[in-house]
């Protein structure tokens, strides 16, 4: 199951790369740099998705106290942080050519930056010392609270009337939405699908690794306990 997913992912990824770099049209103003758009937006969406998963599984954990829920939340947060980091690097690379600056303190960018720190903090709580039950419980509480920032990031450009960061989907206050060509849109949607799949594969892999670690730990303790007897 996992294996086949990986193969599907590899194939789809190459298709996506083809779509991005060859099939879709080159944007008139920004040129080739605009291609980063697909990764940028894709990563952002997956980061949101990942944090959503953290949120849901945190609630589930507090209700059911199953270790697997905690594990999923933790791994999802790590993947989310990774993709946020991608957004935070592709954004500036793009910004360098679009706005002629690496970074500006604009609402969308600032809130994304905060999002990054929020989930780093979440990971820090997970790395605290002590029993896993305690860490899982505290992390879950924090995972619930920190999700509040996700809608804020999404709405940032819509609330604050940003002049810099573009809006493509939905209604913008002043720009009209949908300033995107059909082929670009298709490519984008395809990329979104592929990156989401990537997320799923990573999540599975992460859970697998975590399980193995636990099993190894278990064996180690068992041997130790046998030795003591």
């Amino acid at each position: 199951m996992h294996r086949s997913l990986i193969w599907i992912l590899i194939i789809l990824m190459s298709v996506a790369l083809y779509l991005v770099f060859i099939w879709s049209p080159i944007e008139k103003v920004m040129g080739n740099v605009q291609k980063i758009f697909y990764f940028h937006v894709g990563s952002a969406w997956v980061a949101f998705l990942a944090f959503g998963v953290v949120f849901v599984y945190s609630i589930l954990f507090l209700m059911k106290r199953k270790r697997s829920y905690d594990m999923i939340a933790g791994i999802s947060a790590e993947i989310g942080v990774l993709f946020t980091a991608i957004v935070l690097t592709t954004g500036p690379i793009w910004g360098r050519s679009a706005w002629n600056t690496w970074w500006t303190w604009e609402p969308r960018l600032t809130t994304t930056f905060i999002l990054f720190f929020l989930y780093l903090a979440y990971i820090f709580i997970r790395r605290m010392d002590g029993a896993w039950e305690k860490k899982a419980r505290l992390a879950a509480v924090f995972g619930i609270i920190s999700f509040i920032d996700v809608p804020i990031v999404f709405m940032a450009i819509r609330w604050w009337n940003s002049k810099l960061h573009p809006i493509v989907f939905g209604d913008a206050p002043n720009q009209s939405g949908g300033g995107i060509e059909g082929e670009m849109l298709v490519t984008l949607l395809f990329c979104l699908g592929v990156i989401t799949l990537l997320y799923i594969v990573l999540l599975q892999k992460g859970i697998y690794i975590e399980r193995t670690k636990l099993a190894v730990e278990n064996v180690k303790k068992n041997i130790q306990e046998k030795l003591m007897k």
Binding site: L62, L120, A140, I144, D149
Partner: protein, 227 residues
């Protein structure tokens, strides 16, 4: 509910009483605020004319940095001899610990602000001419939100051995909305009075944040105190 408030007040009373005798947290926060002001005045050249523009930021930077000292202490002081465990085994609602600690922290922070803010105005030679009641409201709402989340996260980080390091890094991102809102409304009140109409949206943002987080923290606190 009455029991909850009663035990919350017992906790607030214990903390404020200890504080009253030593005045340690209060004076430390005060001195620390003073030092931050001085440090900033080196770092940001206060002879500069644009200095008035940084006053709103200063008010909140001071509140937060000094506040963190107090928040940390509020739960670190429960760690010696594991006295937090003493609270956990006692027959009180966990939320009353939250409520009690929130109150004592909030009171201390308000007292500190009562001194530092006039001091800041004097040192930076600023004459207040905005609406003072609105200004107090903004201070109240901003500090309430900050302490509300801060108390909660201080309790969370108190579970860690190195809580005094953990608290700032989990606190800052969560309070960023209220800090932004507080700085913006203070700026509008103190400097850009012409933008007054957008003040109310900031204030309602703060009120919403306070309410939301207070309810959240109040009910989630039980999970933090769980063992």
């Amino acid at each position: 509910m009455r029991d909850l408030i009663k035990s919350a007040l017992a906790i607030t009373w214990k903390d404020l009483y200890a504080e009253w005798r030593t005045k340690q947290v209060f004076s430390t926060m005060l001195i620390f605020s003073g030092l931050v002001i001085v440090t900033f005045s080196f770092a940001f050249d206060p002879t500069n004319n644009t200095i008035r523009a940084v006053i709103p930021g200063m008010i909140w930077v001071i509140t937060i940095f000094a506040g963190i000292l107090g928040l940390n202490r509020s739960f670190i002081s429960e760690q010696y001899n594991d006295s937090l465990h003493g609270l956990i085994v006692s027959p009180i609602d966990p939320s009353s610990i939250y409520f009690g600690k929130f109150l004592s922290n909030f009171i201390i922070v308000l007292f500190v602000q009562m001194i530092t803010i006039p001091l800041l105005f004097i040192l930076f030679d600023y004459k207040m001419n905005g609406n003072i009641l609105l200004f107090l409201l903004v201070l109240f709402l901003g500090s309430a939100g900050f302490i509300c989340v801060g108390t909660f996260l201080a309790a969370l980080s108190a579970n860690s051995r190195s809580s005094e390091m953990l608290l700032p890094i989990i606190l800052f991102p969560v309070i960023s909305p209220i800090v932004i809102a507080a700085v913006q409304s203070t700026r509008i009140l103190l400097i850009d009075v012409e933008e007054i109409e957008s003040l109310f949206s900031w204030i309602s943002l703060m009120a919403g944040y306070d309410l939301l987080f207070f309810v959240f923290c109040f009910f989630l606190f039980e999970f933090i105190m769980e063992v």
